[in-house]
């Protein structure tokens, strides 16, 4: 505990992220009001007037929508990063084990995927398959694969040059076994740090996608669509725009701080 107190960045990141996850989980069992319940007589009411954070243009409770939005945003981003990180790490350690031409080929492939931002690939997918959580997850996950492949490859290549790995090769261990016993355990810290940071990026992307109407369909509340709705009422109901944006910023800030803190903690070589 004292250790944590000496690391304000890690601590703040941890607190914000825990709070976020707690709110998201709480929304599964309890929200102040049902988030989709419309009360037109109470529409566009400011914070504390009706509900803790006011109401939107349909009289829905913004606090409840934010809570459910937290779950929707986090679960989508978590799934996308989980898929991207798993595939990317597998590609990365595989390529590090074989090197050679495969490495050039895979790295070029990464450049190619990296050239299409998730917003655009989500548009491409959305046009044919319709928008929704699935489209958002795929679009973000596809973009994450090269990110994790690069990080993993870089880290794994370093481990492959270590003496104990050379020793293992000399003892006749095969490369798959070395990858599992030596490479993966030694790069897991870097992957954990990267997962945290990319989770923040995924939340930003998910918000952007649902802002454009490429995320989960209405009436499911998402932070991005709440902002899109707010755009029409900027003069009348500024809280509609303030709250979801602050939620996104806080979530990303918390995850980035957690990532930075974890980097200092787990990966001292990489300190800047």
């Amino acid at each position: 505990m004292r250790y944590l107190l000496r690391r304000p960045i890690l601590l703040s990141g941890l607190v914000i992220t825990t709070f976020l996850f707690a709110v998201a989980l709480l929304s599964l069992v309890w929200t102040p009001l049902p988030p989709t319940k419309m009360q037109i007589i109470h529409k566009l009411k400011p914070p504390l007037d009706v509900g803790l954070l006011g109401t939107d243009h349909f009289g829905r409770d913004i606090a409840s929508m934010l809570m459910v939005g937290a779950w929707n945003s986090l679960s989508t981003s978590l799934l996308a990063v989980a898929i991207g990180a798993t595939l990317g790490t597998l590609v990365g350690v595989f390529v590090a084990a074989v090197r050679g031409f495969t490495e050039t080929l895979v790295m070029r492939g990464c450049d190619i995927i990296f050239a299409v931002p998730p917003i655009l690939s989500a548009m491409m997918l959305g046009a044919f398959m319709g928008s929704g959580r699935f489209t958002a997850i795929i679009a973000i996950a596809v973009f994450m694969v090269p990110v994790f492949a690069r990080v993993t490859l870089g880290a794994a290549n370093q481990i492959w040059t270590r003496d104990y790995v050379t020793a293992a090769i000399g003892m006749g261990r095969n490369r798959a076994k070395i990858t599992i016993t030596h490479i993966l355990p030694n790069i897991s810290n870097q992957i954990i740090v990267q997962v945290t940071i990319q989770l923040g990026l995924a939340i930003l992307t998910e918000a952007g996608l649902s802002f454009l109407g490429l995320g989960m369909p209405p009436p499911t509340p998402t932070w991005g669509r709440m902002l899109a709705d707010a755009q029409t009422y900027l003069g009348q109901a500024p809280w509609m725009a303030l709250m979801p944006g602050m939620a996104i910023a806080l979530a990303v800030l918390g995850l980035n701080m957690l990532g930075d803190g974890l980097r200092d903690l787990l990966d001292p070589r990489d300190q800047s």
């Binding site: 450049d111 050239a115 917003i119 655009l120 548009m123 997918l125 992307t205 910023a249 980035n256």
Partner: protein, 317 residues
């Protein structure tokens, strides 16, 4: 030697562009539903559908369709927009007149914020200024650009009435009105970039400050300020410019969103409109265009590296 290396990189660039174009084409083809039925919606008669399929050449085999598309693209013919009934190439050109100035303005702004901030916080490491700048850059990275856009509209357009809330008057009606319409969007686009760049600048300057030539400059009796700005900063800018190039993907993604917030008739808005109007031809070409830009940008960053770092010229990679 260097020419050979550049030629090799250029061949790689062409190959990458080729693969990207094939991929976009094939993915569009593999996705369920063919372009004609997507464009016409569910209410179309079978005759209209068949006619559009023929017009789009969808009755031809995939490889032939790709070759026709790419050959025409090389001649500058990207096909005809289904909704606007005008050549797609012209449409893209028109929209570039918004997106290019917007991006340049955003890049200039983000550098104007990030470089002084990064250099000062590196120069006064662990001071209050340094912590302040670090918090600021963290916040810049975390806030979504399109939300910043909404806040700016709320403040400068709705409340103060100083700036237009959106729309674009075009360059024909004078430079100032057009530029004025781009200022708020450029700020919204620049802040997240500035956050990233501030951190990169700070790290880069700190690294260079430890180099021998900076120590020499100091021991010559130059002031700390001169050592910092004249000797350290120019050398630290290399990684900054590199990151700027690599951030290009995010700049494009940001532009798509910000152009939609401000109703700017740019390329990002065009992509979005093409999506809502199911204009697959426009979408396909805009996405190819954006991806091509990113790849060319990365190529230029690569070349810049070659020019700057002689070790790479030895052909290590």
């Amino acid at each position: 030697m260097i020419l050979l290396l550049v030629a090799r990189r250029f061949a790689g660039l062409l190959l990458t562009l080729l693969i990207v174009s094939v991929l976009i084409f094939v993915i569009m083809d593999l996705l369920p539903g063919d372009p004609a039925s997507v464009m016409l919606g569910t209410s179309a008669t079978p005759e209209t559908l068949a006619a559009l399929q023929r017009q789009l050449g969808l009755d031809q085999p995939l490889a032939l369709r790709y070759l026709t598309w790419i050959a025409a693209a090389f001649r500058g013919d990207l096909g005809t927009s289904y909704t606007y009934s005008v050549p797609v190439a012209g449409l893209i050109g028109e929209r570039l007149a918004v997106t290019v100035p917007l991006s340049l303005l955003a890049v200039a702004l983000s550098m104007a914020i990030a470089i002084p901030l990064g250099v000062i916080s590196a120069g006064r490491r662990n001071s209050l200024v340094d912590y302040g700048a670090s918090v600021l850059s963290q916040v810049f990275i975390a806030v979504p650009g399109f939300w910043v856009g909404l806040l700016l509209v709320m403040l400068f357009s709705v409340t103060l009435g100083w700036m237009p809330a959106g729309g674009f008057p075009g360059w024909d009606n004078g430079v100032w009105p057009a530029l004025k319409a781009l200022i708020l969007p450029a700020v919204a686009l620049a802040l997240p970039q500035a956050g990233v760049l501030t951190r990169v600048t700070r790290t880069a300057v700190l690294e260079v400050m430890n180099e021998d030539f900076v120590r020499t400059a100091r021991s010559k009796g130059l002031s700390e300020k001169t050592a910092l700005w004249v000797h350290a900063v120019p050398n630290a800018l290399v990684p900054v410019v590199t990151i700027l190039g690599l951030q290009f993907t995010f700049l494009i993604a940001g532009a798509v969103l910000v152009e939609n917030v401000f109703n700017l008739p740019g390329l990002g808005r065009l992509a979005y409109q093409a999506l809502t109007q199911r204009d697959i031809i426009v979408m396909q070409n805009v996405i190819l265009f954006f991806s091509g830009l990113v790849i060319i940008m990365n190529f230029l960053v690569d070349l810049a590296y070659l020019a700057i770092d002689p070790r790479l010229r030895a052909g290590v990679r």
